[in-house]
C-alpha cells in the first residue's frame, strides 16, 4: 500500500530528507509531495555567498529528485488540519498526508530598531536577497552582526563594490565560535582588507535620507555610519509558526520540539533542520540537519534510527582568514584549562581547552592558521597524545595516535577505523580511492589532510615511479628533460632509467619532448615512442582501421569546407559522424589511405584536429553576440582564437575547452578543462572540469577579466599543468591532488607566488611560435610518408582481414573471420579504459 508523505519546505534539509527516502525506498512505499514557499528548486544555501562570483544560480543547484517526487514551488503551507491530516497552501490547494515532515528552516532575526524596515534594509538568506542587494546599486553598506553569516555578508557586499562596515553587539567578531584572543586577531586581519569594524556597541536606529530610504545607521556610542544599504545578519529564528498555529509543542526559545527520532508531539509529524528544537537546542548548521533528515527517512521505512548528536565544529575561510572552532571552544566545562599560543607577527592564534588534569582535549580555537584542525578535532574527548603546550606550538609535529572509533570525517561520520580498514583491507592506495570507498573527504574537504596522514601511517608509500623503467614521476622527468637538454629517449633511459622502456614511459617521454617544442612528433626515434594513435596521427579502431578528424576551430565551418569533407568521405568510403566535440569524424580509413585522404584535406586548408593525441582537442563555442539574442560577448571569435593558440599543445592528458556567450552556458564550458563564460564586464574563467568517467564541474578561477588577462592566465594554467601533472591526469584530478588545491593554483598562476609566471608564459609563447601542422609535416617528408604502408613487402595491398558491411547507408566494420572465441573478445573493463 502506498502512503503519502508531505514535506513542507524545500530547503537543504527537506531536500536531503526526500533524497534519503527515495534512495532507500526501493519498493516505493511512499508517494512524496514537497510543498515549497520559495519559487526556485532547492539550492545550496551554505554556498550562497559564492553566488556573487557568477550571479548564476545554476551553480548552487542541488541534484534533482526523480520524477516520482511531486514538487509544488512558490505555494507555502498556511494551515495544518491534524485531525483530518490535510494541509492547505496559500493558494488554497489541499493535500492529505499519512506522514508530514516540517522542514521550514529559519528566518533571519531583524532587531526591531526604528527604521529597520526602510527601503535599503536587507537580510541575507536567499538568492533573491542577494539579487536585491545587488540591484540596490548602493555604495556604502553597514552589516549588522559580526558573526559567521555577518562576515560572509560583509564580504559579499565588498565583492559587489561597496565598502562595508560591520557592527557587532558582542565585544568581538564571531562571538559564538572564537574567544577574545582569536577574535582580536580575526579583527586585525579583516581590517586589513578594508572592513571597518565596530564591536561591543548596539544599533540604535536606521536613519532615512531625503528620499525616504536608508541613509545611515546610528550606534549607541553616538557614532553615525553612512549606509544606503543595511544588511541585518543578527542571528536566526526557527520558523515554527505553522507548528504553533496547529498546536504542536515548541521549545522555550522557539523551534518545534522533537524527540531523538525527530518526531513532534504529533506522532505522524516530524520536524527537521533549523526549524526543529532537539534536546533543547536549535542547530544553525546544515550537518545536524542532514543527520535529522537521515533519521526521518529511516523511521519512515520502519527503522529505529536516533539522532546521533551533532558536531558543531566549524572551519572556514572568511575573507581569506582561516577560522576553526571545535568542541568546548569557550572552556565552559567545570575546571577546564586553556592553553594559548598567540603569534601576532605571523598572524596565528591557537587555543586548546583541556580537562583540569590537562589530560583530555575538550575543544579549541584556531585563527590564522587552522592546519591542525583536521588532526585535533577528532581527538576531542580523548586523552591527549602529548602535552598541550607542544600541541599548540607552531611546528607541533607531534604524533597524534587516534583511537579507531575517533570520527575523522564529520560531514559523513566516518571513523578512523573505517578508513584504515579501507586502506588495509579494501586496498585503497591514495586519497582518491579512500574518498570513493568511504565518502570521507567528499563533504567540506577539511579532513583530507588527515586521510593523507592515515595512508602514511598505514605504510602506503604513494609511489611516484612512472613504471618499472623510471623511478621518477612524470613531473620529475619533465624537469630532467628541461634541465639537461636531453632530446632522445635512448639518452634519457640510459642516464636516468633502466631497460628499454614500455608502453607507459615511451609515450610519456614522447609527450614531454613534444611539449618542449622539439620538432615533429614523428622525427627519428620519436616515432617509435608513440602510441599507435600518435604514430599514425589518427585513432585506431577495433578492426585496425583509423579515423580522421580535421580541426574545425570553435565548430565554425564554411559550406565550401563542409563540401570538401563530404567529398573525401564519399570518395574513400568513410563512415561519417558529427562528434561530441563540434566537428566531424571520418571512420574506417586503412593505414595506406591516410596520406591521400589528408593530402586532399590539407590542400583544402584543413589541418590535424589532434583527436588522437594527448593534446588540446577542441574549444567548443556557442554562437554568442553574433547571433544569439542573449549573448554578451563574442564567444565564437574567442573560442577560435583559443583553439588556434593552443592547437598542438601536448599534455599529460587531453585538454578540452569551451566558451559560452552568457551564463546560459550553451557551450558547456564548465564541463571542460578550462571554460570561459562571458559576463557583462568581460570573462569568467573556470578550470578543472570534465565529462568522461568521473564528471566534474570546473571551478571559478578569475572573474570579469578582459581578454588579454584571460589569455595570460590560461597560458600559465596550461603550461603549469603540462609541467607538473602526472601521466594521464586530467586537470580536475591534478588540481584535486595539489596541496592547497584551487587556492594554491590561484596563488601560483594568478598571484605568481612562485615567481614562475614569466617563465610559463614564455614557454607557451615558444609553443605557439613553433606550431606546425603535423599532417602537413608528414605529407612533405617522403621518409615519414613511407611508414604509412600496409605491408613492407606489399605496400599497395590492403589488409585482407578488414571488411565492411552496410548499416543505415554507411560502411561499418564486420566482425572478422578467424576472430577468437567470445571470452577473449570481451573488451577491457571500464576501470582499465579510464586508466589509459
Amino acid at each position: 500500500m502506498t502512503r503519502t508523505l508531505v514535506v513542507v519546505g524545500n530547503g537543504m534539509v527537506g531536500h536531503r530528507a526526500v533524497q534519503a527516502l527515495r534512495d532507500r525506498d526501493a519498493e516505493g512505499t511512499w508517494r512524496v509531495v514537497v510543498l515549497a514557499e520559495e519559487s526556485r528548486p532547492a539550492y545550496d544555501r551554505v554556498a550562497l555567498s559564492s553566488y556573487v562570483d557568477t550571479w548564476d544560480a545554476g551553480t548552487l543547484s542541488l541534484p534533482e529528485h526523480d520524477e516520482s517526487v511531486q514538487v509544488r514551488l512558490g505555494d507555502p503551507v498556511r494551515h495544518i488540519d491534524r485531525a483530518a491530516k490535510v494541509v492547505t497552501t496559500a493558494s488554497g490547494h489541499e493535500q492529505g498526508y499519512d506522514a508530514l515532515v516540517l522542514a521550514t528552516g529559519s528566518r533571519p532575526f531583524v532587531p526591531p530598531v526604528p527604521g529597520h524596515d526602510l527601503p535599503g534594509c536587507h537580510v541575507y538568506r536567499t538568492i533573491e536577497d542577494l539579487d536585491l542587494i545587488r540591484a540596490s546599486g548602493g555604495r556604502s553598506a553597514v552589516v549588522i552582526g559580526g558573526g559567521l553569516l555577518g562576515l560572509e555578508a560583509a564580504n559579499a557586499v565588498r565583492l559587489m563594490g561597496m565598502a562595508p562596515k560591520v557592527v557587532e553587539l558582542a565585544p568581538r567578531l564571531m562571538p559564538l565560535q572564537v574567544d577574545e584572543g582569536g577574535g582580536a586577531l580575526l579583527r586585525r586581519q579583516v581590517e586589513r582588507l578594508g572592513l571597518e569594524i565596530h564591536c561591543g556597541v548596539s544599533t540604535v536606529a536606521v536613519e532615512a535620507g531625503g528620499n525616504g530610504a536608508a541613509a545611515g545607521v546610528s550606534l549607541a556610542d553616538g557614532t553615525r555610519l553612512d549606509a544606503d544599504v543595511v544588511v541585518f545578519s543578527a542571528g536566526i529564528r526557527p520558523r515554527d509558526e505553522l507548528a504553533r498555529e496547529s498546536g504542536l509543542a515548541v521549545g522555550e526559545r522557539g523551534g518545534i520540539l522533537v524527540d531523538e527520532s525527530c518526531r513532534t508531539s504529533d506522532e505522524s509529524i516530524y520536524a527537521v533542520g533549523e526549524c526543529a528544537c532537539l534536546e533543547g537546542r536549535v542547530y544553525g548548521l546544515v550537518g545536524p540537519g542532514y543527520a535529522m533528515a537521515e533519521v526521518v527517512a529511516d523511521r519512515l521505512l520502519g527503522g529505529g534510527a536516533v539522532f546521533p548528536g551533532a558536531d558543531t565544529s566549524t572551519k572556514l575561510k572568511l575573507l581569506g582568514v582561516d577560522v576553526a572552532s571545535f568542541g568546548d571552544a569557550h572552556a565552559a566545562s567545570p575546571g577546564a584549562l586553556e592553553v594559548v599560543h598567540n603569534d601576532p607577527v605571523s598572524g596565528s592564534y591557537r587555543k586548546l581547552v583541556v580537562s583540569d588534569d590537562a589530560h583530555v582535549l575538550l575543544g579549541g580555537v584556531l585563527v590564522g592558521d587552522a592546519s591542525q584542525y583536521a588532526t585535533l578535532r577528532p581527538l576531542v574527548g580523548r586523552p591527549l597524545p602529548a602535552d598541550p603546550g607542544s600541541l599548540v606550538a607552531p611546528a607541533g609535529g607531534v604524533d597524534l595516535a587516534l583511537p579507531d572509533e575517533a570520527q575523522v570525517c564529520s560531514c559523513h561520520a566516518v571513523t578512523k577505523g573505517q578508513i584504515t580498514c579501507a586502506i588495509n583491507e579494501s586496498g585503497c592506495t591514495d586519497v582518491a580511492s579512500v574518498k570513493s570507498c568511504t565518502k570521507a573527504g567528499t563533504g567540506c574537504g577539511s579532513c583530507v589532510p588527515m586521510l593523507k596522514q592515515l595512508l602514511d601511517e598505514c605504510g602506503v608509500v604513494q609511489s611516484k615511479a612512472l613504471c618499472e623503467h623510471f623511478e621518477q614521476s612524470r613531473a620529475e622527468l619533465f624537469e630532467v628533460v628541461r634541465a639537461t637538454g636531453i632530446r632522445t629517449f635512448s639518452q634519457l633511459i640510459a642516464g636516468y632509467g633502466k631497460g628499454r622502456g614500455c608502453d607507459i614511459c615511451k609515450p610519456v617521454v614522447a609527450s614531454i619532448l613534444a611539449s618542449l617544442a622539439t620538432g615533429h612528433v614523428l622525427d627519428g626515434e620519436q616515432a617509435g615512442l608513440q602510441d599507435t594513435n600518435d604514430r599514425f596521427l589518427a585513432n585506431l579502431q577495433r578492426n585496425g582501421t583509423y579515423s580522421v578528424v580535421p580541426r574545425i576551430p570553435g565548430g565554425e565551418i564554411t559550406p565550401e569546407k563542409l563540401l570538401v569533407i563530404a567529398e573525401v568521405a564519399r570518395d574513400f568510403g568513410l563512415y561519417t559522424k558529427i562528434t561530441g566535440g563540434q566537428r566531424i569524424d571520418l571512420f574506417g580509413a586503412t593505414v595506406d589511405q591516410l596520406p591521400p585522404i589528408w593530402r586532399r584535406l590539407v590542400d583544402a586548408g584543413f589541418e590535424s584536429g589532434h583527436a588522437y593525441g594527448k593534446a588540446l582537442r577542441t574549444v567548443k563555442s556557442c554562437v554568442g553576440t553574433t547571433w544569439c539574442r542573449y549573448g554578451v560577448q563574442d564567444s565564437v571569435a574567442l573560442a577560435i582564437d583559443l583553439e588556434l593558440r593552443y592547437r598542438g599543445l601536448r599534455a599529460p592528458h587531453k585538454i578540452k575547452a569551451g566558451v559560452s556567450g552568457c551564463a546560459r552556458e550553451c557551450a558547456e564550458a564548465r564541463g571542460k578543462d578550462f571554460g570561459v563564460i562571458a559576463t557583462e564586464l568581460g570573462w569568467n574563467l573556470y578550470v578543472g572540469g570534465n565529462g568522461g568517467f568521473k564528471p566534474r564541474h570546473a571551478d571559478l578561477l578569475v572573474s570579469d577579466v578582459d581578454t588579454e588577462t584571460l589569455v595570460r592566465v590560461i597560458d600559465r594554467f596550461l603550461m603549469f599543468y603540462v609541467r607538473t601533472a602526472d601521466r594521464l591526469q586530467r586537470t580536475a584530478a591534478w588540481i584535486e591532488a595539489m596541496d592547497g588545491g584551487l587556492d594554491h593554483l590561484r596563488e601560483v598562476i594568478v598571484d605568481d607566488s612562485l615567481g614562475i609566471c614569466a617563465d610559463l608564459e614564455s614557454a607557451m609563447a615558444e609553443h605557439i611560435d613553433s606550431y606546425q601542422d603535423e599532417w602537413r609535416g608528414v605529407l612533405e617528408d617522403p621518409e615519414k610518408l613511407a611508414r604509412f604502408s600496409s605491408f613492407v613487402n606489399a605496400p599497395g595491398v590492403p589488409d585482407p582481414t578488414i571488411s565492411f558491411r552496410e548499416e543505415r547507408g554507411q560502411r561499418v566494420p564486420t566482425v572478422q573471420l578467424g576472430m577468437p572465441t567470445e571470452g577473449l573478445l570481451a573488451g577491457p573493463n571500464i576501470s582499465e579504459v579510464a586508466a589509459r
Binding site: D503, G528, V792, L824
Partner: protein, 114 residues
C-alpha cells in the same frame, strides 16, 4: 627449429628497411600476416600480426620495449604485452600468438612458414 627444411622462406624486405623498436607488417604467400621486430639489442623476431584480443591485424604497430628485461611488444588495442621471443602473452597465461622463424641472408630478411 627442427622442421626448418620443410619451411617456405619468404624474403620480405631488406634488413636495412627495419628500424629498431619499430615493427612492420609483412604478407606471406598464404595470406598470413606477420609482425617483424628489430630490438635495440639487434635481435630479430616475427610474430603473427593478429592481436588475439581484438582480432585486428595490428601487433606490428605496438610499442616495443621490455618487461623485467624480456623484450616485448604491447598490443596497440588493449595493451597486453607479448614476449617477442615466444609469443606468450604476459598478461593472460592462456594466450600465446604464433611465432615464425626469421633469418637474415644476403641482406634480406626471410620469414619461414609451412
Amino acid at each position: 627449429m627442427t622442421a626448418v627444411d620443410e619451411l617456405t622462406w619468404t624474403a620480405v624486405c631488406e634488413f636495412g628497411d627495419l628500424e629498431p623498436e619499430r615493427g612492420v607488417a609483412a604478407l606471406l604467400p598464404g595470406g598470413e600476416q606477420v609482425a617483424l621486430f628489430l630490438t635495440y639489442a639487434g635481435t630479430l623476431h616475427a610474430l603473427s600480426n593478429v592481436d588475439p584480443f581484438s582480432g585486428a591485424a595490428v601487433l606490428s604497430r605496438g610499442i616495443v620495449g621490455d618487461r623485467t628485461g624480456m623484450p616485448v611488444v604491447s598490443s596497440p588495442v588493449y595493451k597486453q604485452a607479448f614476449d617477442l621471443t615466444t609469443g606468450q602473452c604476459l598478461d593472460e597465461p592462456d594466450v600465446r600468438v604464433r611465432t615464425y622463424p626469421v633469418v637474415v641472408w644476403d641482406g634480406f630478411v626471410r620469414v619461414g612458414s609451412p
